[in-house]
C-alpha cells in the first residue's frame, strides 16, 4: 500500500511542478488577479457597499450568494450529524478527576472576556477584521470552555431547548429574509440599496446578516459538539 501511495504522490508532485511553471507571479500589480475584478472592488468597494473591510464587503454584498450557500453548508453538516443513528451512549468514566479549581477560576474569569471579544469582533466586522464566521467560531470555543466548567448538561442549558431549532436555522432564514427585502428594495435578489438615504437600511441589513451568521454558526457548532459528545 505504501509503495502505491508514494508513486501517486510523486506523480502529483511532478504534474504540479511542471504545471506551475507559467503561473503569473502574484506580486506584479498588473497580474490578472489585481487588475480585473479585484481592482474594481478596491476602488469602489467602500462607496458601493459602505464597508471598509473589503473582505466583508465581498462576502456579504458582492458575492452574498456564496455566503448564503455557505451558511446552508454548515446547516447541512448539522442536519447530517443529527440524521445519523446514535452511536450508543459511551459509558461515562467515573468523575475521578474533577477539573482543577485553578482552571475553573481562570475559565470563569475569561468566559465573559471571550464573549465580549466575540461580540466586539462581530460589530466591528465592517471596519476591522472579523465578522460572522469568526464570532460564531469563538462562541463555539466559548461553549467548549464553559463545558469544562458547567459540565455537558450545564453547557446545553446555555441554549434553551425550545429555541434551539430556530437558532440553528437562524442564518439561512435571515439570509432569505434579507434577500427578499433586497429584492423588494432594489429589484434584485439580495440587493443592497445604493441610494444615500437608504445607507442606514444597508448597514442594518449587513449587520443583521453578520449577527445571524454569528448566532447561527455558534449554536450549530455548540450542537455539533453536543451531539458528537453525547
Amino acid at each position: 500500500m505504501k509503495g502505491w501511495a508514494l508513486a501517486l504522490v510523486v506523480v502529483v508532485a511532478a504534474t504540479l511542478a511542471i504545471g506551475v511553471q507559467g503561473l503569473p507571479t502574484h506580486d506584479a500589480p498588473e497580474a490578472p488577479i489585481h487588475d480585473h475584478v479585484g481592482a474594481r472592488y478596491v476602488e469602489r468597494g467602500v462607496e458601493e457597499t459602505g464597508m471598509r473591510n473589503l473582505v466583508g464587503a465581498v462576502l456579504l454584498n458582492y458575492r452574498g450568494f456564496d455566503t448564503m450557500v455557505e451558511v446552508v453548508v454548515i446547516f447541512t453538516a448539522l442536519a447530517a450529524v443529527l440524521a445519523l443513528p446514535r452511536a450508543g451512549s459511551v459509558a461515562d468514566a467515573p468523575e475521578a478527576l474533577p477539573v482543577s479549581p485553578v482552571v475553573l477560576f481562570v475559565v470563569r474569569l475569561l468566559a465573559p472576556f471571550i464573549a465580549l471579544f466575540a461580540i466586539a469582533l462581530l460589530f466591528r466586522g465592517h471596519v476591522s477584521p472579523g465578522g460572522g464566521f469568526q464570532a460564531g467560531a469563538l462562541f463555539g470555543a466559548l461553549f467548549v470552555a464553559l463545558g469544562l466548567v458547567l459540565g455537558r448538561r450545564g453547557a446545553a442549558r446555555l441554549v434553551p431547548e425550545r429555541a434551539r431549532p430556530w437558532l440553528q436555522a437562524a442564518a439561512p432564514l435571515t439570509f432569505a429574509a434579507v434577500a427578499a427585502l433586497g429584492w423588494a428594495l432594489t429589484g434584485s435578489f439580495l440587493g443592497f440599496p445604493q441610494a444615500p438615504e437608504l445607507h442606514a437600511v444597508r448597514e442594518a441589513m449587513a449587520l443583521a446578516l453578520e449577527v445571524a451568521i454569528a448566532v447561527g454558526g455558534g449554536v450549530i457548532l455548540g450542537s455539533l459538539f453536543q451531539t458528537m459528545e453525547a
Binding site: W4, A13, G38, V55, E70, A80
Partner: protein, 116 residues
C-alpha cells in the same frame, strides 16, 4: 519572492498538498486519513491566498493609514467560505468514523475490509 525561478510559496503549497495526499492514501487509520485530507485542503487555500497577496501590501481594509497596493479581497473571501466547508465535511466525517468504530471496533482500513 522567486529565488530560483519558481515562487517559493507555490513550491511550499505543492509540498503541503503532497504531504496531505500521502497521509490520505498511505495511512491506514481513518482519523489519520482525515487529517491528511484537511492538510490537503488547507494547502489549496494557501495557494489561493498566496496568489492574491502583494509583497508588502496592506490587507484589504481601507481604514486610515492604509495605502495601496492591497491584497486582493476575493481569494480571501473564497478561502473563508472554503474553511467553513472543510469544517463541515470534517464534522460529518468524524461522526461517520464514530459510527464505524461503534460497529467494527477498529479504525484500521485493513481490519475493516475483512469484516462484512
Amino acid at each position: 519572492m522567486a529565488p530560483f525561478g519558481v515562487d517559493l510559496d507555490y513550491v511550499a503549497v505543492a509540498a503541503l498538498f503532497c504531504i496531505g495526499l500521502y497521509m490520505l492514501v498511505a495511512k491506514s487509520n481513518l482519523l489519520k486519513k482525515l487529517l491528511g485530507l484537511n492538510v490537503m485542503e488547507t494547502s489549496v487555500f494557501a495557494f489561493i491566498v498566496t496568489s492574491g497577496m502583494v509583497e508588502g501590501g496592506d490587507p484589504p481594509l481601507l481604514v486610515a493609514g492604509a495605502q495601496p497596493p492591497f491584497a486582493s479581497p476575493i481569494p480571501q473571501a473564497m478561502v473563508l467560505t472554503g474553511i467553513v466547508v472543510v469544517v463541515s465535511v470534517t464534522a460529518v466525517a468524524l461522526s461517520l468514523i464514530v459510527q464505524i468504530y461503534a460497529h467494527y471496533g477498529t479504525l484500521e482500513v485493513d481490519e475493516l475490509k475483512e469484516r462484512p
